[in-house]
């Protein structure tokens, strides 16, 4: 398995400096944020000159672009114009991913808040989501990129079961799962073994992060899709290996089902800088910890 750094971990750095840091701490690739006004990434409509620079620096550092991360949530909007705008935005990201040779694009399974419980509304949003993912998948397939739908709160893929059901219904070779066990843990969804079993054969990308609960009894809630506001949090982010997530079991499970792709260190310093030291320290330590686990797994299998 290959290890990537997520530029969410380096909000204080420009993209070039982040890529250099990733190389310096021994990572194989980078997951790059696509968002307006985030300094460590690029916008939804980057110029080819910007992309050429990223490609050139990444290649120069010996890094692959593992993934791109847009924050588009309206692909299942009931408003057609919003769905089409989301499609156009994501097509630009697909273009950029193709140019950079990225393996995957992180995709939100639209949006679905806990308040949206009307059966017809949920059915409509599901239908639009499937249609839109199929449309996008055709374009992603053209450039050899995977759409990786993340296990993520406030979307239609909060649980492993829902994510697997979605991917099976979309049924396109370029759409798979972005497995994020930490997200499943803090939303009180499936434990590792069950999540892996449900998503077997569908995982195309993995996020690696860690956390501790400060209060296990608070039900999960978040207003937004991209992040949990500090007032809503029942957990604290941690350097990988210093929290509650059993990464050895996760990696062993992934290996057992033949997963050999990217592990991306989704070091959430962008959202929770109070929890995590700078990437140079915390991401480095996370990488070291995961590398040791991978080596142990390798040793166990020999």
């Amino acid at each position: 398995m290959k290890l990537a750094g997520h530029t969410m971990g380096t909000p204080e750095l420009g993209l070039v400096d982040a890529l250099r840091l990733f190389r310096e701490i021994g990572l194989d690739g980078a997951e790059i944020i696509c968002d307006e006004n985030y300094p460590c990434g690029f916008s939804y409509n980057p110029t080819r000159t910007e992309l050429k620079k990223v490609k050139c620096v990444a290649e120069g550092e010996g890094l692959e672009v593992a993934g791109l991360t847009p924050y588009v949530t309206e692909i299942n909007s009931l408003d057609k114009s919003k769905r089409l705008a989301a499609r156009a935005t994501l097509l630009r990201v697909i273009d950029a991913a193709g140019f950079l040779g990225a393996h995957a694009i992180r995709i939100y399974a639209g949006s679905l808040t806990p308040a949206e419980i009307d059966k017809q509304l949920v059915a409509d949003k599901w239908h639009y989501l499937i249609d839109e993912l199929r449309c996008l998948a055709e374009n992603a397939g053209d450039v050899g990129v995977y759409l990786a739908v993340e296990n993520h709160f406030n979307t239609m893929a909060v649980s492993a079961a829902d994510t697997a059901r979605l991917i099976k219904e979309v049924d396109h070779p370029h759409v798979g799962i972005l497995y994020d066990q930490a997200n499943l843990v803090f939303t009180h969804k499936e434990p590792t073994e069950e999540a892996l079993a449900l998503q077997r054969g569908l995982i195309v990308y993995v996020h690696v992060k860690d956390l501790v609960f400060v209060n296990r009894d608070i039900p999960f809630r978040a207003v937004a899709v991209a992040k949990v506001d500090s007032s809503e949090r029942a957990v604290r982010s941690r350097v990988v290996g210093q929290g509650e997530i059993d990464w050895f079991s996760i990696l062993r499970g992934l290996k057992e089902q033949g997963y050999d792709g990217w592990l991306s260190l989704e070091y959430e310093r962008r959202w929770h800088p109070q929890d995590l030291p700078a990437a140079e320290i915390g991401m480095r330590e996370s990488a070291r910890y995961v590398r040791n686990l991978l080596a142990k797994l390798e040793g166990d299998s020999q």
């Binding site: 080819r48 156009a88 097509l91 630009r92 449309c135």
Partner: protein, 302 residues
């Protein structure tokens, strides 16, 4: 990976004959333009039905349609300021301009949706379009109203998840790589890209490779394969089986830029079948070995 397709009417106006020949050459991807004496999607009732049967029976993939969209003059004021002395002349001029404007309406509001519908039905992901006739002698940039119409078209294409590819065409506003890239940049919509036709660029007086291609490289979504050479006696650029285009360099550059689409053979030479087959063989050699196998012959034929 770059794949070869063939515009069927370059082999024969009869789709059955064309498909029989194309598949016998080991190819199964086609671009549809002329069908008998019709141009897609405006077929008569017989060909509406027969074409679909043939496509199914031969098992070919339709990669693009070329309905001739916007290969017409753009809107003009139908009430002219420069009135003639004779009223019947005014009337004739008015009628002519009115008809011209109705044609633009027809292309935008009827031919485009019908073409998108047909592309969707046949599974074609690309629609080759044009950029309206450039008035003779006008060397200026593409007028803003043309840009606006193309933007509206791209928005409609996005709805159908079909890519519009403006063909570089010597008689249109997008007559060269540089002019067509300028259009795409100004329209700024991810569902508007370029059908790169180096021979057409040469006919417009541009050095297609590397010059013209360097302008369009990032927007190429489809390619036409033909050659052209300057006739030493007349100075006119004429279609040729082996002309002045550096196809060795061009194919290498497409590969280097990770182009993964189709190159459609469009020899424009006689005799049709022999010219199309020779062009297929030449393109195959260029793609597989990087070598050009066709020696220079008289322009306009094999």
């Amino acid at each position: 990976m770059i794949e070869i397709s063939v515009i069927t009417d370059e082999v024969s106006a009869d789709p059955q004959t064309a498909l029989e020949l194309i598949t016998s050459w080991g190819l199964n991807a086609i671009e549809l333009r002329g069908v008998e004496c019709y141009r897609v999607p405006d077929l008569n009732a017989y060909w509406e039905k027969r074409l679909r049967t043939l496509l199914r029976d031969f098992g070919v993939e339709v990669v693009a349609l070329s309905p001739g969209l916007f290969k017409i003059p753009f809107y003009a004021d139908d009430v002219r300021a420069d009135q003639q002395i004779l009223r019947w002349e005014d009337n004739a001029a008015y009628a002519s301009l009115h008809e011209r404007n109705q044609k633009v309406d027809y292309h935008l509001n009827t031919l485009l949706p019908r073409s998108l519908d047909m592309a969707t039905e046949l599974g074609a992901r690309r629609l080759v379009i044009f950029s309206f006739d450039r008035p003779h002698g006008d060397q200026g940039p593409t007028p803003q109203p043309v840009i606006e119409v193309l933007r509206v078209s791209a928005e409609r294409a996005a709805e159908a998840n079909i890519m519009l590819c403006i063909e570089v065409e010597h008689m249109c506003w997008g007559n060269t790589g540089a002019a067509t890239a300028d259009i795409v940049r100004r329209v700024n919509h991810p569902f508007l890209r370029i059908n790169w036709d180096p021979a057409n660029a040469l006919k417009a007086g541009e050095e297609p490779f590397p010059g013209g291609y360097s302008e369009v490289a990032e927007y190429v979504s489809h390619v036409h394969f033909k050659d052209a050479a300057s006739n030493p006696e007349t100075g006119e650029v004429e279609w040729s089986m082996k002309g002045d285009i550096d196809w060795v360099g061009q194919i290498a550059a497409l590969k280097a830029n990770d182009y993964r689409g189709y190159i459609s053979v469009e020899s424009h030479c006689l005799p049709k079948v022999a010219a199309a087959k020779a062009a297929v063989d030449r393109l195959r050699s260029l793609l597989e070995t990087g070598r050009d196998t066709v020696s220079r012959t008289q322009s306009g034929g094999v």
